[in-house]
Protein backbone atom coordinates (compact mmCIF):
# COMPACT_ATOMS: atom_id res chain seq x y z
CA UNK A 1 0.00 0.00 0.00
CA UNK A 2 2.84 2.32 0.88
CA UNK A 3 4.07 2.01 -2.66
CA UNK A 4 0.94 3.44 -4.13
CA UNK A 5 1.51 6.55 -2.09
CA UNK A 6 4.96 7.17 -3.38
CA UNK A 7 4.96 5.73 -6.87
CA UNK A 8 3.33 8.72 -8.59
CA UNK A 9 5.73 11.13 -7.03
CA UNK A 10 9.08 11.56 -8.43
CA UNK A 11 8.38 15.23 -7.77
CA UNK A 12 10.85 16.22 -5.12
CA UNK A 13 8.55 17.96 -2.62
CA UNK A 14 6.09 15.13 -2.11
CA UNK A 15 8.10 12.06 -3.02
CA UNK A 16 8.42 10.74 0.50
CA UNK A 17 4.95 10.80 1.98
CA UNK A 18 6.05 9.31 5.27
CA UNK A 19 8.56 12.13 5.73
CA UNK A 20 5.83 14.66 4.95
CA UNK A 21 3.49 13.06 7.45
CA UNK A 22 6.22 13.21 10.06
CA UNK A 23 6.07 17.01 9.77
CA UNK A 24 2.57 16.90 11.26
CA UNK A 25 2.74 15.75 14.90
CA UNK A 26 -1.02 15.25 15.25
CA UNK A 27 -0.95 12.55 12.57
CA UNK A 28 0.87 10.37 15.07
CA UNK A 29 -2.00 10.33 17.53
CA UNK A 30 -4.63 7.67 17.92
CA UNK A 31 -8.37 7.88 18.30
CA UNK A 32 -10.31 4.98 19.82
CA UNK A 33 -6.99 3.16 19.92
CA UNK A 34 -6.59 3.42 16.14
CA UNK A 35 -4.31 5.63 14.08
CA UNK A 36 -6.03 8.91 13.27
CA UNK A 37 -7.18 9.22 9.67
CA UNK A 38 -7.85 12.89 9.20
CA UNK A 39 -10.32 13.51 6.38
CA UNK A 40 -11.77 16.78 7.62
CA UNK A 41 -9.32 19.10 5.93
CA UNK A 42 -12.03 21.32 4.47
CA UNK A 43 -13.03 22.22 8.03
CA UNK A 44 -9.48 22.88 9.11
CA UNK A 45 -6.08 21.54 8.09
CA UNK A 46 -3.48 20.14 10.47
CA UNK A 47 -0.36 22.11 11.32
CA UNK A 48 3.22 21.16 10.54
CA UNK A 49 5.73 21.42 13.39
CA UNK A 50 7.33 24.52 11.83
CA UNK A 51 4.05 26.40 12.15
CA UNK A 52 3.59 25.31 15.76
CA UNK A 53 7.19 26.34 16.47
CA UNK A 54 6.62 29.73 14.87
CA UNK A 55 3.74 30.39 17.25
CA UNK A 56 5.62 29.45 20.40
CA UNK A 57 8.88 30.88 19.10
CA UNK A 58 7.29 34.26 18.68
CA UNK A 59 6.20 34.38 22.30
CA UNK A 60 9.51 32.98 23.51
CA UNK A 61 11.79 35.36 21.67
CA UNK A 62 10.06 38.30 20.07
CA UNK A 63 6.78 39.17 21.76
CA UNK A 64 6.14 42.91 21.64
CA UNK A 65 3.40 45.10 20.34
CA UNK A 66 3.75 46.06 16.71
CA UNK A 67 3.99 49.45 15.03
CA UNK A 68 4.29 51.13 18.43
CA UNK A 69 7.60 50.96 20.18
CA UNK A 70 10.99 52.33 19.35
CA UNK A 71 12.52 49.49 21.32
CA UNK A 72 14.23 46.71 19.45
CA UNK A 73 11.74 43.95 20.26
CA UNK A 74 8.88 45.99 18.91
CA UNK A 75 10.87 46.76 15.79
CA UNK A 76 11.63 43.09 15.29
CA UNK A 77 8.03 42.06 15.83
CA UNK A 78 6.82 44.78 13.47
CA UNK A 79 9.19 43.83 10.74
CA UNK A 80 8.34 40.11 11.10
CA UNK A 81 4.63 40.98 10.98
CA UNK A 82 5.08 43.09 7.86
CA UNK A 83 7.27 40.40 6.34
CA UNK A 84 4.39 37.95 6.78
CA UNK A 85 2.10 40.42 5.02
CA UNK A 86 4.56 40.60 2.17
CA UNK A 87 4.64 36.81 1.83
CA UNK A 88 0.87 36.71 1.68
CA UNK A 89 0.70 39.51 -0.86
CA UNK A 90 3.22 37.72 -3.04
CA UNK A 91 1.48 34.37 -2.56
CA UNK A 92 -1.77 35.63 -4.09
CA UNK A 93 0.08 37.99 -6.43
CA UNK A 94 -1.34 41.24 -5.06
CA UNK A 95 0.20 44.38 -6.55
CA UNK A 96 1.45 45.55 -3.19
CA UNK A 97 1.30 44.94 0.55
CA UNK A 98 -1.15 47.83 0.75
CA UNK A 99 -3.72 45.47 -0.74
CA UNK A 100 -3.36 42.85 1.98
CA UNK A 101 -5.39 43.31 5.16
CA UNK A 102 -4.98 40.96 8.10
CA UNK A 103 -8.26 39.79 9.63
CA UNK A 104 -9.39 37.04 11.99
CA UNK A 105 -10.24 34.89 9.01
CA UNK A 106 -12.39 34.50 5.95
CA UNK A 107 -15.62 35.21 7.82
CA UNK A 108 -14.31 38.48 9.20
CA UNK A 109 -12.94 39.47 5.79
CA UNK A 110 -16.38 39.07 4.22
CA UNK A 111 -18.04 40.93 7.07
CA UNK A 112 -15.48 43.69 6.71
CA UNK A 113 -16.35 44.21 3.05
CA UNK A 114 -20.08 44.08 3.81
CA UNK A 115 -19.76 46.60 6.66
CA UNK A 116 -17.54 49.06 4.79
CA UNK A 117 -17.77 48.86 1.03
CA UNK A 118 -21.29 47.47 1.28
CA UNK A 119 -22.67 50.11 3.62
CA UNK A 120 -21.05 52.81 1.53
CA UNK A 121 -22.22 51.63 -1.86
CA UNK A 122 -25.49 49.74 -1.64
CA UNK A 123 -28.83 51.40 -2.10
CA UNK A 124 -32.44 50.17 -2.27
CA UNK A 125 -32.96 48.36 -5.56
CA UNK A 126 -29.34 47.24 -5.83
CA UNK A 127 -28.60 43.54 -6.06
CA UNK A 128 -25.99 41.21 -4.61
CA UNK A 129 -25.56 38.05 -6.63
CA UNK A 130 -24.37 34.93 -4.82
CA UNK A 131 -24.63 31.24 -5.72
CA UNK A 132 -26.62 28.36 -4.30
CA UNK A 133 -23.50 26.65 -3.00
CA UNK A 134 -22.25 29.37 -0.67
CA UNK A 135 -21.06 28.82 2.88
CA UNK A 136 -23.18 30.60 5.50
CA UNK A 137 -20.24 33.02 5.88
CA UNK A 138 -20.83 34.18 2.32
CA UNK A 139 -24.60 34.42 2.71
CA UNK A 140 -25.45 35.86 6.11
CA UNK A 141 -23.26 39.02 5.96
CA UNK A 142 -24.94 39.90 2.66
CA UNK A 143 -28.39 39.20 4.07
CA UNK A 144 -27.59 41.55 6.94
CA UNK A 145 -26.33 44.14 4.50
CA UNK A 146 -29.48 43.80 2.40
CA UNK A 147 -31.60 44.36 5.49
CA UNK A 148 -29.73 47.58 6.25
CA UNK A 149 -29.46 48.91 2.74
CA UNK A 150 -32.62 47.74 1.05
CA UNK A 151 -30.62 45.82 -1.53
CA UNK A 152 -31.75 42.38 -2.70
CA UNK A 153 -29.94 39.07 -2.48
CA UNK A 154 -30.11 37.08 -5.72
CA UNK A 155 -29.08 33.43 -5.86
CA UNK A 156 -27.63 31.77 -8.94
CA UNK A 157 -28.71 28.11 -9.19
CA UNK A 158 -26.54 25.07 -9.87
CA UNK A 159 -26.65 22.31 -12.42
CA UNK A 160 -27.47 18.83 -11.14
CA UNK A 161 -23.75 17.96 -11.05
CA UNK A 162 -23.07 20.80 -8.60
CA UNK A 163 -21.50 23.19 -11.08
CA UNK A 164 -22.67 26.75 -11.37
CA UNK A 165 -25.34 27.33 -14.00
CA UNK A 166 -23.47 29.94 -16.02
CA UNK A 167 -26.38 30.62 -18.39
CA UNK A 168 -28.47 31.55 -15.37
CA UNK A 169 -25.57 33.53 -14.00
CA UNK A 170 -25.41 35.56 -17.20
CA UNK A 171 -29.16 36.07 -17.08
CA UNK A 172 -29.20 37.18 -13.43
CA UNK A 173 -26.37 39.67 -13.88
CA UNK A 174 -27.76 43.08 -14.71
CA UNK A 175 -27.10 46.75 -14.21
CA UNK A 176 -28.58 46.59 -10.70
CA UNK A 177 -25.99 44.01 -9.67
CA UNK A 178 -23.50 45.88 -7.52
CA UNK A 179 -21.65 42.88 -6.14
CA UNK A 180 -21.05 39.27 -7.09
CA UNK A 181 -19.94 37.21 -4.09
CA UNK A 182 -19.04 33.62 -4.95
CA UNK A 183 -16.73 31.01 -3.54
CA UNK A 184 -13.71 29.85 -5.48
CA UNK A 185 -14.21 26.26 -4.31
CA UNK A 186 -17.31 24.81 -2.66
CA UNK A 187 -16.60 23.36 0.77
CA UNK A 188 -19.53 20.95 0.46
CA UNK A 189 -19.26 19.67 -3.09
CA UNK A 190 -15.70 20.48 -4.08
CA UNK A 191 -16.85 22.34 -7.20
CA UNK A 192 -14.22 24.74 -8.54
CA UNK A 193 -16.04 27.76 -9.88
CA UNK A 194 -14.88 29.59 -13.03
CA UNK A 195 -13.93 32.68 -11.05
CA UNK A 196 -12.02 34.42 -13.81
CA UNK A 197 -14.94 34.12 -16.19
CA UNK A 198 -17.36 35.18 -13.43
CA UNK A 199 -15.24 38.26 -12.73
CA UNK A 200 -14.99 39.18 -16.40
CA UNK A 201 -18.76 38.93 -16.85
CA UNK A 202 -19.52 40.84 -13.65
CA UNK A 203 -17.14 43.66 -14.50
CA UNK A 204 -18.82 44.07 -17.87
CA UNK A 205 -22.05 45.05 -16.13
CA UNK A 206 -20.20 47.23 -13.64
CA UNK A 207 -20.46 44.93 -10.60
CA UNK A 208 -17.64 44.38 -8.13
CA UNK A 209 -16.54 40.84 -7.35
CA UNK A 210 -15.70 39.18 -4.05
CA UNK A 211 -14.28 35.68 -4.21
CA UNK A 212 -14.48 33.57 -1.05
CA UNK A 213 -11.19 31.74 -1.27
CA UNK A 214 -11.44 29.85 2.04
CA UNK A 215 -11.18 26.47 0.31
CA UNK A 216 -8.99 27.46 -2.60
CA UNK A 217 -5.76 28.85 -1.27
CA UNK A 218 -4.48 25.46 -0.12
CA UNK A 219 -5.41 23.65 -3.32
CA UNK A 220 -4.50 25.76 -6.30
CA UNK A 221 -2.49 28.71 -7.49
CA UNK A 222 -4.35 31.90 -6.69
CA UNK A 223 -3.45 34.94 -8.77
CA UNK A 224 -5.71 37.85 -7.90
CA UNK A 225 -4.36 40.01 -10.72
CA UNK A 226 -5.03 37.40 -13.33
CA UNK A 227 -8.46 36.69 -11.83
CA UNK A 228 -9.02 40.44 -11.58
CA UNK A 229 -11.45 40.05 -8.64
CA UNK A 230 -11.93 43.09 -6.42
CA UNK A 231 -11.80 41.23 -3.10
CA UNK A 232 -10.45 37.83 -2.15
CA UNK A 233 -10.94 36.37 1.33
CA UNK A 234 -9.28 33.49 3.19
CA UNK A 235 -8.36 31.88 6.52
CA UNK A 236 -4.90 30.70 7.58
CA UNK A 237 -6.22 27.63 9.38
CA UNK A 238 -7.41 26.10 6.12
CA UNK A 239 -3.94 26.35 4.67
CA UNK A 240 -1.87 24.71 7.43
CA UNK A 241 -1.58 27.92 9.43
CA UNK A 242 -3.07 28.78 12.81
CA UNK A 243 -6.65 29.68 13.70
CA UNK A 244 -7.65 33.26 14.36
CA UNK A 245 -5.82 34.86 11.46
CA UNK A 246 -6.68 35.33 7.83
CA UNK A 247 -6.70 37.91 5.14
CA UNK A 248 -8.57 40.15 2.82
CA UNK A 249 -7.12 41.09 -0.51
CA UNK A 250 -8.70 44.23 -1.91
CA UNK A 251 -7.78 46.38 -4.86
CA UNK A 252 -5.98 49.42 -3.55
CA UNK A 253 -8.25 51.95 -5.23
CA UNK A 254 -11.22 50.35 -3.46
CA UNK A 255 -9.54 50.07 -0.08
CA UNK A 256 -8.61 53.76 -0.30
CA UNK A 257 -12.24 54.76 -0.81
CA UNK A 258 -13.74 52.46 1.77
CA UNK A 259 -14.63 53.75 5.25
CA UNK A 260 -12.84 52.10 8.17
CA UNK A 261 -14.23 48.91 9.69
CA UNK A 262 -13.63 49.14 13.43
CA UNK A 263 -12.29 52.08 15.37
CA UNK A 264 -9.33 51.95 17.72
CA UNK A 265 -5.60 52.10 17.82
CA UNK A 266 -3.48 51.45 14.75
CA UNK A 267 -6.16 52.47 12.23
CA UNK A 268 -5.77 56.18 12.89
CA UNK A 269 -3.43 58.85 11.64
CA UNK A 270 -4.33 61.64 14.03
CA UNK A 271 -6.84 61.74 16.86
CA UNK A 272 -8.33 64.70 18.65
CA UNK A 273 -11.68 64.71 20.42
CA UNK A 274 -13.05 66.80 17.58
CA UNK A 275 -11.76 64.82 14.66
CA UNK A 276 -9.88 61.69 13.74
CA UNK A 277 -8.15 61.09 10.47
CA UNK A 278 -7.54 57.57 9.38
CA UNK A 279 -4.44 55.66 8.54
CA UNK A 280 -3.76 54.36 5.03
CA UNK A 281 -4.80 50.87 3.93
CA UNK A 282 -4.20 48.20 5.04
CA UNK A 283 -3.77 49.70 8.54
CA UNK A 284 -7.04 51.57 8.28
CA UNK A 285 -8.79 48.20 8.58
CA UNK A 286 -6.66 46.77 11.37
CA UNK A 287 -7.84 48.42 14.58
CA UNK A 288 -6.30 47.16 17.76
CA UNK A 289 -3.43 44.82 18.49
CA UNK A 290 -3.35 42.21 15.75
CA UNK A 291 -2.64 38.48 16.04
CA UNK A 292 1.08 38.89 15.43
CA UNK A 293 2.07 35.33 16.32
CA UNK A 294 -0.68 34.07 14.04
CA UNK A 295 0.47 36.24 11.16
CA UNK A 296 4.06 35.07 11.51
CA UNK A 297 2.98 31.44 11.66
CA UNK A 298 0.74 32.00 8.63
CA UNK A 299 3.82 33.19 6.79
CA UNK A 300 5.66 30.05 7.82
CA UNK A 301 2.76 27.90 6.61
CA UNK A 302 3.04 29.59 3.23
CA UNK A 303 6.77 28.95 3.15
CA UNK A 304 6.04 25.33 3.97
CA UNK A 305 3.59 24.75 1.15
CA UNK A 306 5.71 26.70 -1.30
CA UNK A 307 8.55 24.39 -0.49
CA UNK A 308 6.32 21.42 -1.36
CA UNK A 309 5.02 23.32 -4.36
CA UNK A 310 1.36 24.16 -4.73
CA UNK A 311 1.33 22.42 -8.13
CA UNK A 312 2.67 19.24 -6.54
CA UNK A 313 0.09 19.54 -3.81
CA UNK A 314 -2.68 19.98 -6.35
CA UNK A 315 -1.46 16.98 -8.30
CA UNK A 316 -1.37 14.71 -5.28
CA UNK A 317 -4.74 15.88 -4.01
CA UNK A 318 -6.28 15.33 -7.42
CA UNK A 319 -4.95 11.79 -7.40
CA UNK A 320 -6.39 11.21 -3.95
CA UNK A 321 -9.72 12.60 -5.16
CA UNK A 322 -9.72 10.44 -8.30
CA UNK A 323 -8.87 7.37 -6.31
CA UNK A 324 -11.53 8.06 -3.67
CA UNK A 325 -14.11 8.76 -6.36
CA UNK A 326 -13.34 5.49 -8.06
CA UNK A 327 -13.36 3.53 -4.78
CA UNK A 328 -16.60 5.06 -3.51
CA UNK A 329 -18.33 4.59 -6.86
CA UNK A 330 -17.50 0.90 -6.75
CA UNK A 331 -19.44 0.45 -3.49
CA UNK A 332 -23.09 -0.33 -4.31
CA UNK A 333 -25.47 2.16 -2.70
CA UNK A 334 -22.92 4.94 -2.35
CA UNK A 335 -23.98 8.10 -4.13
CA UNK A 336 -21.53 10.94 -4.63
CA UNK A 337 -23.09 14.38 -4.18
CA UNK A 338 -21.34 16.85 -6.46
CA UNK A 339 -19.88 15.57 -9.70
CA UNK A 340 -18.75 18.76 -11.37
CA UNK A 341 -16.04 18.38 -13.96
CA UNK A 342 -13.68 20.65 -12.04
CA UNK A 343 -13.42 19.59 -8.44
CA UNK A 344 -11.02 20.00 -5.55
CA UNK A 345 -10.29 17.18 -3.12
CA UNK A 346 -13.63 17.25 -1.36
CA UNK A 347 -16.00 14.34 -1.73
CA UNK A 348 -19.50 14.41 -0.35
CA UNK A 349 -21.55 11.25 -0.39
CA UNK A 350 -24.51 9.33 0.96
CA UNK A 351 -24.76 5.63 1.74
CA UNK A 352 -28.08 4.11 0.67
CA UNK A 353 -30.82 5.57 2.82
CA UNK A 354 -28.57 5.74 5.86
CA UNK A 355 -28.64 9.03 7.71
CA UNK A 356 -25.25 10.78 7.44
CA UNK A 357 -25.11 11.05 11.21
CA UNK A 358 -25.45 7.27 11.59
CA UNK A 359 -22.83 6.53 8.95
CA UNK A 360 -20.50 9.18 10.35
CA UNK A 361 -20.72 7.66 13.83
CA UNK A 362 -19.57 4.28 12.54
CA UNK A 363 -16.85 5.75 10.32
CA UNK A 364 -15.61 7.77 13.32
CA UNK A 365 -15.08 4.57 15.28
CA UNK A 366 -12.65 3.41 12.63
CA UNK A 367 -10.52 6.38 13.63
CA UNK A 368 -11.57 8.29 10.52
CA UNK A 369 -12.51 11.93 10.96
CA UNK A 370 -15.15 12.82 8.39
CA UNK A 371 -17.73 15.51 8.70
CA UNK A 372 -21.47 14.93 8.53
CA UNK A 373 -24.32 17.37 8.22
CA UNK A 374 -24.91 20.45 6.15
CA UNK A 375 -21.32 21.78 6.30
CA UNK A 376 -22.61 25.31 6.90
CA UNK A 377 -24.35 25.21 3.53
CA UNK A 378 -27.91 24.57 4.60
CA UNK A 379 -29.53 26.33 1.63
CA UNK A 380 -27.44 24.15 -0.69
CA UNK A 381 -28.60 20.97 1.05
CA UNK A 382 -32.21 22.20 0.88
CA UNK A 383 -31.85 22.85 -2.83
CA UNK A 384 -30.47 19.33 -3.33
CA UNK A 385 -33.38 17.95 -1.32
CA UNK A 386 -31.15 16.27 1.26
CA UNK A 387 -30.59 16.89 4.96
CA UNK A 388 -26.83 16.62 4.69
CA UNK A 389 -23.96 14.49 3.49
CA UNK A 390 -20.92 12.65 4.73
CA UNK A 391 -17.86 14.58 3.59
CA UNK A 392 -14.29 13.43 3.25
CA UNK A 393 -11.83 16.15 2.32
CA UNK A 394 -8.21 15.36 1.57
CA UNK A 395 -4.90 17.08 2.08
CA UNK A 396 -1.58 16.09 0.54
CA UNK A 397 -0.61 14.21 3.73
CA UNK A 398 -3.46 11.77 3.29
CA UNK A 399 -2.76 8.40 1.73
CA UNK A 400 -4.38 5.97 -0.64
CA UNK A 401 -4.31 3.38 2.13
CA UNK A 402 -6.42 5.70 4.27
CA UNK A 403 -8.99 5.85 1.48
CA UNK A 404 -9.04 2.05 1.42
CA UNK A 405 -9.80 2.13 5.14
CA UNK A 406 -12.65 4.57 4.49
CA UNK A 407 -14.08 2.07 2.00
CA UNK A 408 -13.84 -0.63 4.63
CA UNK A 409 -15.64 1.57 7.16
CA UNK A 410 -18.36 2.38 4.65
CA UNK A 411 -18.88 -1.28 3.89
CA UNK A 412 -19.14 -2.00 7.59
CA UNK A 413 -21.66 0.81 8.05
CA UNK A 414 -23.70 -0.55 5.14
CA UNK A 415 -23.78 -3.94 6.79
CA UNK A 416 -24.77 -2.52 10.16
CA UNK A 417 -27.61 -0.36 8.89
CA UNK A 418 -28.99 -2.88 6.45
Amino acid sequence: MGNRDTVHFSTAGLADIEAIRADFPILRREVYGKPLVYFDNAATTQKPQVVIDALTGYYQTMNANVHRGVHLLSQEATSAFEKAREKLALFVNARSVREMVFTRGCTESINLVAATWGQQNLRPGDEILISALEHHSNIVPWQMLCEHSGARLIVCPLHADGSLNMEEFARLLNTHTRLVAISHISNSLGTINPVKEITRMAHKTGAKVLIDGAQALAHLVVDVQDMDCDFYTFSAHKIYGPMGIGGLYGKEELLLEMPPYQGGGEMIANVTFEHTSYNEPPFKFEAGTPNVAGALAFGVAIDYIQKLGIQNIAKRENQLLDYATQVLKSIPGVVIIGNAEHKASVISFLIDETHPYDAGTIIDHFGIAVRTGTHCTQPLMDSLGITGTIRASFAFYNTFAEIDLLAKAINKAKEMFL
Binding site: Y32, D358, T372, T387, F417
Partner: protein, 144 residues
Amino acid sequence: MKIEEKTQAIVNEFANFDDWMDKYNYLIELGKSLPLIEERHKTENNLIPGCQSRVWLHADFDGEIVHFTADSDAVITKGIANLLIRTFSDQRPQEILDSSANFLSEIGLTEHLSPTRSNGMLSMLKQIKMYALAFKAKQQMGQS
Protein backbone atom coordinates in the same frame (compact mmCIF):
# COMPACT_ATOMS: atom_id res chain seq x y z
CA MET B 1 -39.96 -0.19 38.17
CA LYS B 2 -37.85 2.55 39.67
CA ILE B 3 -35.60 4.64 37.45
CA GLU B 4 -32.44 3.31 39.13
CA GLU B 5 -33.58 -0.25 38.53
CA LYS B 6 -34.19 0.49 34.90
CA THR B 7 -30.83 2.13 34.40
CA GLN B 8 -29.11 -0.72 36.20
CA ALA B 9 -30.78 -3.13 33.81
CA ILE B 10 -29.46 -1.12 30.87
CA VAL B 11 -25.97 -1.03 32.32
CA ASN B 12 -26.12 -4.81 32.76
CA GLU B 13 -27.24 -5.33 29.18
CA PHE B 14 -24.37 -3.25 27.86
CA ALA B 15 -21.85 -4.98 30.09
CA ASN B 16 -22.10 -7.93 27.72
CA PHE B 17 -20.48 -6.09 24.85
CA ASP B 18 -16.77 -5.91 24.71
CA ASP B 19 -16.36 -4.01 21.51
CA TRP B 20 -17.88 -0.87 20.13
CA MET B 21 -19.34 -2.60 17.11
CA ASP B 22 -21.48 -4.97 19.16
CA LYS B 23 -22.62 -2.03 21.22
CA TYR B 24 -23.62 -0.06 18.15
CA ASN B 25 -25.30 -3.06 16.59
CA TYR B 26 -27.41 -3.27 19.72
CA LEU B 27 -28.15 0.47 19.63
CA ILE B 28 -29.22 0.11 16.02
CA GLU B 29 -31.49 -2.76 17.02
CA LEU B 30 -32.94 -0.61 19.79
CA GLY B 31 -33.38 2.18 17.29
CA LYS B 32 -35.32 -0.03 14.95
CA SER B 33 -37.55 -1.30 17.72
CA LEU B 34 -38.34 2.09 19.25
CA PRO B 35 -42.11 2.25 19.63
CA LEU B 36 -43.00 4.83 17.06
CA ILE B 37 -44.37 8.19 17.89
CA GLU B 38 -47.76 8.84 16.34
CA GLU B 39 -47.37 10.66 13.03
CA ARG B 40 -49.56 13.52 14.26
CA HIS B 41 -47.05 14.18 17.04
CA LYS B 42 -44.14 14.62 14.63
CA THR B 43 -44.67 18.36 14.61
CA GLU B 44 -42.30 21.29 14.43
CA ASN B 45 -43.17 21.91 18.06
CA ASN B 46 -41.99 18.51 19.14
CA LEU B 47 -38.78 18.79 17.15
CA ILE B 48 -35.73 19.10 19.37
CA PRO B 49 -33.53 21.98 18.30
CA GLY B 50 -29.81 21.76 17.68
CA CYS B 51 -29.56 18.19 16.42
CA GLN B 52 -27.84 17.01 13.28
CA SER B 53 -30.54 14.42 12.90
CA ARG B 54 -34.14 15.35 13.43
CA VAL B 55 -35.51 14.19 16.76
CA TRP B 56 -39.11 14.42 17.89
CA LEU B 57 -40.12 13.98 21.50
CA HIS B 58 -43.72 13.84 22.62
CA ALA B 59 -45.02 13.69 26.19
CA ASP B 60 -48.43 12.75 27.61
CA PHE B 61 -49.42 13.29 31.21
CA ASP B 62 -52.35 11.57 32.85
CA GLY B 63 -52.15 13.63 36.01
CA GLU B 64 -49.82 11.20 37.68
CA ILE B 65 -47.48 9.62 35.21
CA VAL B 66 -45.56 10.98 32.22
CA HIS B 67 -45.47 8.95 29.04
CA PHE B 68 -42.84 9.73 26.40
CA THR B 69 -42.64 8.73 22.76
CA ALA B 70 -39.91 9.74 20.30
CA ASP B 71 -38.62 9.33 16.80
CA SER B 72 -35.60 10.35 14.77
CA ASP B 73 -34.47 10.08 11.18
CA ALA B 74 -31.14 8.64 12.37
CA VAL B 75 -31.17 5.11 13.74
CA ILE B 76 -28.41 5.52 16.35
CA THR B 77 -30.16 8.58 17.71
CA LYS B 78 -33.34 6.52 17.82
CA GLY B 79 -31.51 3.84 19.76
CA ILE B 80 -30.41 6.35 22.34
CA ALA B 81 -33.91 7.83 22.44
CA ASN B 82 -35.14 4.32 23.13
CA LEU B 83 -32.84 4.06 26.16
CA LEU B 84 -33.95 7.42 27.47
CA ILE B 85 -37.60 6.62 27.01
CA ARG B 86 -37.22 3.25 28.64
CA THR B 87 -35.66 5.05 31.59
CA PHE B 88 -37.90 8.04 32.00
CA SER B 89 -41.24 7.07 30.53
CA ASP B 90 -44.11 6.05 32.82
CA GLN B 91 -42.62 7.78 35.84
CA ARG B 92 -43.87 10.56 38.05
CA PRO B 93 -42.54 14.05 37.26
CA GLN B 94 -40.68 14.27 40.56
CA GLU B 95 -38.90 10.97 39.94
CA ILE B 96 -37.78 12.19 36.55
CA LEU B 97 -36.49 15.44 38.02
CA ASP B 98 -34.60 13.61 40.74
CA SER B 99 -32.72 11.26 38.45
CA SER B 100 -29.81 11.64 36.10
CA ALA B 101 -28.75 9.97 32.89
CA ASN B 102 -25.30 9.17 34.18
CA PHE B 103 -25.75 5.60 33.06
CA LEU B 104 -24.99 6.72 29.53
CA SER B 105 -21.39 7.34 30.45
CA GLU B 106 -21.35 4.10 32.39
CA ILE B 107 -22.31 2.16 29.29
CA GLY B 108 -19.60 3.91 27.30
CA LEU B 109 -21.73 6.29 25.30
CA THR B 110 -20.08 9.39 26.69
CA GLU B 111 -19.16 10.52 23.21
CA HIS B 112 -22.86 11.10 22.68
CA LEU B 113 -23.06 13.27 25.75
CA SER B 114 -20.58 15.89 24.66
CA PRO B 115 -22.26 19.08 23.52
CA THR B 116 -20.27 19.05 20.28
CA ARG B 117 -21.93 15.86 19.15
CA SER B 118 -25.01 17.83 18.23
CA ASN B 119 -27.00 14.64 18.09
CA GLY B 120 -29.56 16.02 20.44
CA MET B 121 -28.69 13.64 23.23
CA LEU B 122 -28.33 16.42 25.78
CA SER B 123 -31.17 18.42 24.30
CA MET B 124 -33.38 15.36 24.50
CA LEU B 125 -32.53 14.94 28.16
CA LYS B 126 -33.16 18.60 28.83
CA GLN B 127 -36.51 18.40 27.10
CA ILE B 128 -37.50 15.36 29.16
CA LYS B 129 -36.74 17.28 32.34
CA MET B 130 -38.59 20.34 31.09
CA TYR B 131 -41.70 18.28 30.49
CA ALA B 132 -41.37 16.79 33.95
CA LEU B 133 -41.06 20.25 35.46
CA ALA B 134 -44.07 21.55 33.56
CA PHE B 135 -46.19 18.55 34.52
CA LYS B 136 -45.14 18.85 38.13
CA ALA B 137 -46.28 22.47 38.15
CA LYS B 138 -49.57 21.40 36.61
CA GLN B 139 -49.95 18.70 39.24
CA GLN B 140 -49.36 21.17 42.06
CA MET B 141 -51.82 23.60 40.59
CA GLY B 142 -54.40 20.85 40.44
CA GLN B 143 -53.80 20.00 44.08
CA SER B 144 -53.97 23.50 45.47
